[in-house]
């Protein structure tokens, strides 16, 4: 990702006469990397053999050596090549067509006359014929990223802003849900009677799709901004609540015994013993919440028309810009990966070994 970004920055600064080439240029760093990892793996054959061995799951007694990145890069390259060739469309061939037919086609907008006098398929119509190839998507990404922080109109904000809106909307809903779910979960986890009293409600509310709440939320709060956040909240609150209650209730009794023998205050007991003790379970719940909140935020933006990456995917569909739709999907994926890796770093801090 980094190298691609670097390539883009350098490309945007490059003179305009190279605009037709950048998509090819951008592939080059990736190819370099693949070549390097090939060299490291000691050539195609050895690399493939190692790759095949690893893909087998290491069932043999031998040690699993080799670079998994090589396999990933190989799969990526194969996928991109396949994508490219299967979506490749033939250039316009005027042989066998009369001048009259050509003029009719031009009139219909199927073809355009190029400055050199030859005919070519109309690029505007090409956009919606079949699936766009990787080069078209890269080109789309390049133009979008070049204007990442440009606001062209009320509903036409740069991709950087859209990501920012989605992440902040997601963060607000997720954090609020986590705080409330953990506090409630601790209370339920410490009190078996309350836990059993609340459990039927949790069990009924948990499987409801957060999007199902949306009309009711929209009707109640009367504001799509808050509704989107509340949808994220609804998606994130139940898994954390249920697992926190479970984690706290299954905390080893001895830890609580020690806490009560050394007479910890309820607050110290909470943040020195209960929360760190249940932290691994709570983090598992947060991870489930995190995933479902991330899944919920995209359709919430689509349905509510709130600016964000989910909205981008829908608006590009309305524009019939399939390359844009694919680009939006990729952005959603990248945002998810970045948030998830940040979350994993956080989770690593609080887990412990028994």
């Amino acid at each position: 990702m980094e190298s691609t970004n670097d390539a883009m920055v350098s490309e945007t600064a490059s003179p305009p006469d190279r605009t037709g080439v950048p998509s090819l240029l951008m592939v080059r760093p990736v190819m370099h990397r693949v070549a390097a990892s090939l060299k490291r793996a000691g050539g195609w054959a050895k690399g493939l053999a190692v790759g095949g061995f690893q893909a087998g799951g290491g069932t043999a007694a031998g040690k699993a050596t080799g670079n998994p990145w090589f396999i990933s890069a190989f799969v990526l390259v194969m996928f991109l090549l396949a994508w490219h060739f299967f979506t490749l469309r033939p250039t316009f061939d005027p042989t066998g067509l009369t001048e009259e037919q050509l003029q009719l086609m031009e009139f219909n907008g199927d073809i355009v006359r190029m400055p050199d006098g030859a005919y070519a398929w109309n690029p505007e119509k090409e956009k919606v014929k079949g699936i766009p190839g990787p080069l078209a998507v890269v080109e789309k990404a390049r133009t979008e990223l070049a204007e990442a922080f440009v606001i062209k109109g009320t509903n036409d904000h740069g991709i950087g802003y859209l990501v920012l809106y989605t992440v902040s909307r997601f963060a607000a809903g997720f954090l609020a849900a986590s705080v409330i779910a953990i506090l409630l979960g601790v209370i339920l986890g410490l009190n078996k009677v309350l836990f059993r009293a609340a459990n039927p409600f949790i069990q009924i509310l948990k499987p409801i799709s957060p999007l199902a709440w949306m009309p009711l939320l929209l009707y109640t709060v009367k504001d799509p901004k808050w509704t989107a956040m509340l949808v994220v909240f609804m998606a994130a609150v139940w898994p954390t609540l249920a697992t926190t209650a479970f984690g706290v209730s299954s905390l080893k009794k001895e830890y609580l015994h020690v806490a009560s023998i050394v007479q910890l205050s309820w607050f110290k007991r909470l943040y020195k013993v209960i929360l760190p003790g249940a932290a691994p379970t709570i983090v598992n719940g947060l991870r489930i919440s995190f995933g479902s909140a991330l899944v919920a935020v995209v359709p919430a933006e689509m349905l509510l028309g709130e600016l964000g990456v989910g909205y981008l995917s829908w608006i590009e569909w309305n524009n019939l810009d399939i390359a844009g739709v694919i680009f939006a999907i990729l952005v959603v994926g990248v945002v998810g990966v970045v948030l998830d890796s940040g979350f994993n770093k956080l989770a690593g801090l609080v887990t412990y070994q028994e």
Binding site: K252, E254, Y255, H257, V258, S260, I261, V262, Q263, L264, K272, V273, P276, G277, A279, V350, Y352, Q353, E354
Partner: protein, 289 residues
């Protein structure tokens, strides 16, 4: 009045198969003097750990009560520290933090430097110098229980409650830690109440050994005075003339109760009295009271 008195304590649990209650043990009455080391031996399920938890205040007795230093001790407190069978060290804290958690609570007025010095002293006392910043997962069972002992001794409790403290430690290490326990106890002289399965351990460590019949309705049937002079060590104690007499007596008791369960107790003891039969092994004579 004894320093620690367990007064006619009974415990009932709700019957798992339905209505009514099951009596775990009945009318446990124990008087322990200050600085005494008293051990309870009995088969699994006789409620000896429950009895220890009642003294610790972690469980409530169904009948009776615990009196410490003239006051009823209800609920857990820093004056009765437990050493747990499974160590009960917080796995997310280092060795230092585990002990410091207890020390800070016991001496809330101390500065951080005082706490640190105190904790370091007790870590050194159990021979864990250098392991201060390790987490329990990185320690062996023996080392974990050394931390448990350091934590218990560090808050200088009036009563030390040892709940099968060496049961999960391998036999070789067990002996070493038992002697470390003796040394620490020699200087601190806390009152100790221990629960164990291990007859040799009980004889090595205790002043008196209480023998419990099997549950349900277990009772403290006998009290054996360990009349072997201190200091004791594992090597020399087995050569003592009374060692095997005491040991055989206890093992006979345990085997007898393993065969018949707890139901032959009525034939041996006066059912109206909660006081156990006192067994002495003084001057080569056996005097059953």
């Amino acid at each position: 009045m004894a320093f620690l008195q367990i007064d006619h304590v009974s415990k009932f649990f709700p019957n798992p198969s339905g209505a009514g209650e099951v009596c775990i043990f009945k009318d446990a009455t124990i008087k322990i003097d200050k600085g005494e080391f008293v051990t309870v031996i009995g088969h699994s399920g006789c409620g000896k750990s429950t009895l220890l938890n009642i003294i610790a205040g972690l469980e409530t007795p169904s009948e009776g009560g615990v009196i410490l230093n003239g006051r009823e001790a209800s609920g857990p407190g820093l004056d009765r520290m437990v050493v747990f069978q499974n160590f009960a060290l917080m796995p997310w804290m280092t060795v230092f933090e585990n002990i410091a958690l207890a020390v800070r609570s016991a001496y809330p007025d101390w500065t951080a430097a005082q706490v640190s010095a105190h904790v370091t002293r007790y870590i050194a006392l159990v021979g864990l110098k250098g392991a201060e910043n390790k987490r329990p997962a990185a320690l062996s069972g023996g080392m974990k229980q050394r931390v448990g002992l350091a934590r218990a001794f560090s808050i200088e409790p009036k009563v030390l409650l040892l709940d099968e403290p060496f049961a999960q430690i391998d036999a070789l290490t067990r002996g070493v830690i038992q002697e470390e326990l003796i040394q620490m106890w020699n200087t601190s002289r806390n009152t100790v109440f221990m629960v164990t399965h291990d007859v040799d351990e009980a004889i090595l460590l205790s002043d008196r050994i209480l023998l419990m019949t099997n549950g349900p309705e277990a009772r403290i049937a006998e009290m054996v005075n360990v009349s072997i002079a201190r200091p004791r060590s594992r090597e020399t104690i087995i050569d003592h003339p009374r060692y095997y007499k005491i040991r055989n007596h206890i093992i006979h008791f345990l085997v007898r109760h393993a065969k018949h369960g707890g139901h032959d107790s009525a034939s041996e003891h006066r059912p109206d009295s909660a006081d156990p039969v006192v067994v002495n092994f003084e001057e080569e004579t056996v005097a059953a009271g």
